[in-house]
Amino acid sequence: MSKKRIVLTFPGRLVDQPITYHLIKDHNLIVNILRANVTPKEEGRLVIELGGNKKDMESGMNYLNEIGVHVQPLTQEVVWHKDRCTQCTACVSICPSSAFVVNRNDMSVSFRKEKCIACELCIPICPYRAVEVHF
């Protein structure tokens, strides 16, 4: 099974379409919604993780292109500057995907990049500016 993280941008006319339903039902894909928001211009943005076999992934991507959804790979990357981090744990309670975790024995903090969904919630939370987004 392959996996990929993508950013979908779709025009207002598609906002109320059950796009993820079709990806799951018709294309046999596993869809994990990482972030979703509809901008004031009524444009939708969805960050999802797609999982499935190669053929299904291809047909799913074709479907998205056909209906007019703009697909981009998720290139935002959250970088943890270990040397700036003071292990205060402030980011841990906000992180929705447990990318930041505390070892409760010694209260040390670590960052699991593969879990991060680049939601950026931790960035203004970190008092030491130890997390940054790279585009």
Partner: protein
């Protein structure tokens, strides 16, 4: 069994002192009992590493040619304003100062990326800092402005002098309202979305000597990576709060004012700090040794996270409106587990004070004492304790009399 500080220092000089951290002493006493442990242990080291807003450094910048009287004028270090109401080239750089052109909270929540705390960190790191100043000019100090680069290595004095550090216990902050709030206790999510605490608990200096029986004015401490001293009680020192049977305050209580040579300090233990929507500050690493003079002192140092209770306070209403209400009590073992229960709801917790760094400080101080590089001092005067009757006064609201 009793011992004096002089006796402990003799052992330290010979490299024979037995030193353990406030974390290690817990198991040692559990295993051996106080009677045996008091005979063996000479010193217990504590540590804390948290944001401490009442911090700042005074600097003597040296005299330019021709001379400039910055005193009474205006001066900036890396665009952060410093206090100039003292002598010609002495300034005080406060941790919470921010550049005049910082947008602050006009675009809410403000970012507060840079301020006094960050300048202090950069000075300690040995980085060059821009000085700009304007003056009114006098016969003996003719110059009216200056712009130059300073470096901590080249200026006469750089002294970290913090009027209030090392709070003995602190509130747990939560938010009962239905909007996100931005506080000095961090960002608090609506409807009890999270709970932030700020104390090193069982490692915290004043929680290990709850009645200030060994920690006093004149006590030599580890401060920001260098050596410092306690010079007074800290501002808002409030020894009279309610205490548990073990003597430990159940709310924010004692504080200390500390001083130390910034030139010896390092950014590892001194960090510019940002609270979104609130401001900037300085995080300070402090470690205090506790001489084990007798069994009573030893017992205090065995305090555990689960024996230290504190109050849960709503920062959306009770705190800003100064209402005395609390939402209940929790102990630090619960806080450090990652979740607590508030009004029947499970709430995720996060610290602002780093326990991992506090432990590193206690270990570092232990190492210094063991090697004979850090001798203990006899306090020259005690900090006011419970019997002082000192309480925390609010600001009265009185009409201003017209003259």
């Amino acid at each position: 069994m009793t011992r004096t500080i002089a006796e402990i220092n003799e052992k330290i000089k010979k490299g024979k002192a037995v030193v353990v951290t406030a974390e290690e002493i817990i198991d040692i006493v559990k295993e051996k009992g106080t009677k045996k442990a008091v005979c063996e242990i000479d010193v217990v080291t504590t540590g804390t590493f948290g944001p401490m807003c009442s911090s700042g450094a005074y600097l003597n910048l040296g005299h330019s040619k021709p001379r400039v009287k910055i005193g009474g004028g205006k001066a900036y270090l890396n665009n952060v304003p410093v206090y100039t109401g003292i002598a010609a080239v002495d300034v005080y750089l406060g941790a919470t100062a921010i550049p005049d052109d910082d947008p602050r909270n006009t675009v809410f929540p403000g970012e507060f990326r840079y301020g006094g705390g960050h300048v202090i960190e950069e000075l300690a790191a040995g980085k060059d800092v821009k000085l700009t100043a304007t003056a009114y000019g006098t016969d003996c100090y003719p110059r009216k402005s200056i712009e130059t680069t300073i470096n901590i290595k080249e200026i006469n004095e750089a002294v970290l002098f913090n009027p209030r550090n090392s709070y003995q216990n602190y509130n747990v902050a939560v938010n009962l309202s239905d909007r996100v709030i931005y506080t000095y206790m961090g960002t608090l999510q609506p409807k009890l979305g999270n709970a932030n605490y700020c104390s090193a608990g069982q490692l915290s200096p004043l929680l290990n000597d709850p009645y200030y029986k060994t920690i006093g004015i004149g006590t030599r401490i580890f401060m920001g990576g260098g050596i410092g001293y306690i010079v007074w009680n800290g501002t808002q020192h409030n020894p009279s709060v309610s205490r548990s049977e073990n003597g430990v305050p159940r709310a924010p209580a004692g504080t200390i004012a500390v001083i130390g040579d910034l030139k010896q300090m390092s950014p590892n233990w001194l960090r510019g700090t940002t609270f979104t929507g609130y401001g900037v500050t300085l995080t300070v690493g402090i470690g205090i040794p506790i001489p084990i003079l007798n069994e009573e002192i030893l017992k205090y140092t065995t305090v555990r996270d689960k024996d230290i209770f504190t109050q849960i306070v709503d920062y959306s209403d009770a705190y800003p409106q100064r209402k005395p209400d609390t939402l209940g009590e929790v102990n630090y073992a619960e806080l450090k587990s990652g979740k607590i229960n508030v009004k029947g709801k499970e709430v995720k917790t996060a610290g602002l004070s780093s326990y991992a760094k506090a432990r590193e400080i206690a270990e570092t101080l232990k190492g210094l004492i063991k090697k004979g590089d850090f001798l203990l001092t006899e306090p020259v005067a005690a900090l006011p304790s419970v019997e002082s009757g000192i309480t925390f006064k609010p600001m009265p609201s009185k009409p201003v009399k017209k003259k």
